[in-house]
Symmetry: C2
Subunit: 235 residues, 2 copies
Amino acid sequence: MSGNLPRSTANRLLSRLSPEDFLLLQPNLKWVDLPLRRQLERPNKPIDQIYFLESGFASVVADGSGGRGIEVGLIGREGMTGLSVLMGTDRSPHETFIQSAGEGVRISAGSLRRAMDISRTLHGTLLLYAHAFALQVTNTAMANGRSKIEQRLARWLLMAQDRIGKDEVLLTHELLSLMLGVRRPGVTVALKLLEEAGVLRARRGLISITDRRGLERLADRTYGVAEAEYRRLLG
Amino acid sequence: MSGNLPRSTANRLLSRLSPEDFLLLQPNLKWVDLPLRRQLERPNKPIDQIYFLESGFASVVADGSGGRGIEVGLIGREGMTGLSVLMGTDRSPHETFIQSAGEGVRISAGSLRRAMDISRTLHGTLLLYAHAFALQVTNTAMANGRSKIEQRLARWLLMAQDRIGKDEVLLTHELLSLMLGVRRPGVTVALKLLEEAGVLRARRGLISITDRRGLERLADRTYGVAEAEYRRLLG
DNA sequence: GCATCATTGTCCGCTTTCGTACCGAGTCCG
DNA sequence: CGGACTCGGTACGAAAGCGGACAATGATGC
């Protein structure tokens, strides 16, 4: 399935482009499979491919060195990787990798740069997404600083559900604890609290969200601001 | 002192622009005094002035509502406010206000937009700063998630010192606690630990940094990554 | 079926931080 | 000088989270 040109796309950012801007990219887009753990960006290495996800999602993790890494953002079919390229540089200190397997289309950094040189509206639309992503990161900073594990977990699950579009998230507590930067048993306990509150059911490696509104309530305002801004700008 | 056109500037971003790009902005720049607490951006309100600080610094605070606000970034003479305008929108959900009084130059959002329309290199240089600021925010997210008060405080003081260029920071524990999102006595205790470690002296409303290297060590890798990237891109 | 492994649930003592309160010290102003 | 106010230091019990360990449970492979 890899390698062919896409005719249409589930990526919300791509589908939001004007027909002309999309045609500017299309000849250089390639379908790719995105298996679990596939690295899309490596810390401080030049970015040579940029990915627009069609399904699944990726985590952006800061400072992976020494096991002290922590997730700062999620990217799914609402966005793209390689924001550094939009900003005029070719790398970032973060790592980006697939957290939930899926598919996407990719383009070389060089092709994207050339297309953005030709079309300012293209650059402009992609920058709007970069802005929305930046807000997501500020919300992560806020949640990390002020919220309990339970609320941060609720926020994470909501963001994950937005991106996979299903009620079921496939993930171990271990992985969640790495993303949130907390102890693994801390996740177990917090999940149990959320389950007792009746907003989800947790099975082995699987979390089923049953009451999204309730989950939003439990997230206690750590969720929603960035999402609303995305809709305002690109919805 | 307010209102006159600046001939030269201490703002590192402005002085890094090409002469042509600077001349594009200069006719619309106005000197302004920036007293403590002056609001430079209000949450969700259209930005009409953009500030390039010459001295002092400003805090960017997320979600000021309900006393749950927390600082996500600092801006001084290395940068500018109004990054949303660079990204193609006119507002952000954050509040930006002067934390350490100083001076700066300002330009209307409209004039800046017109100048960026004319010069892509201008837009590009400013976007490099937006990238560096985004890294600062990811570091805040990391520090908030993984570090103790003592280390977050050390990081904050280092960032403040970078911006004021002096060894003395004028601030109450109360204000610091609001910025870091912790209890006020927590700051008192952490400051005492830093003082016992011999890296600073704390007086009433005044912190004097005496051993910057030591402070960097105590910040335990929460400080430095974003700063190095700023130097690589704009230094 | 049985052994093995990954995952989850639970527990311990300890550290960090919290919320709150109170008091002393410094500063300002009449 | 004296009173009012702000700021900083300290204390207390409680909550949250940690590091580490271990047992129970579910999945997987032989």
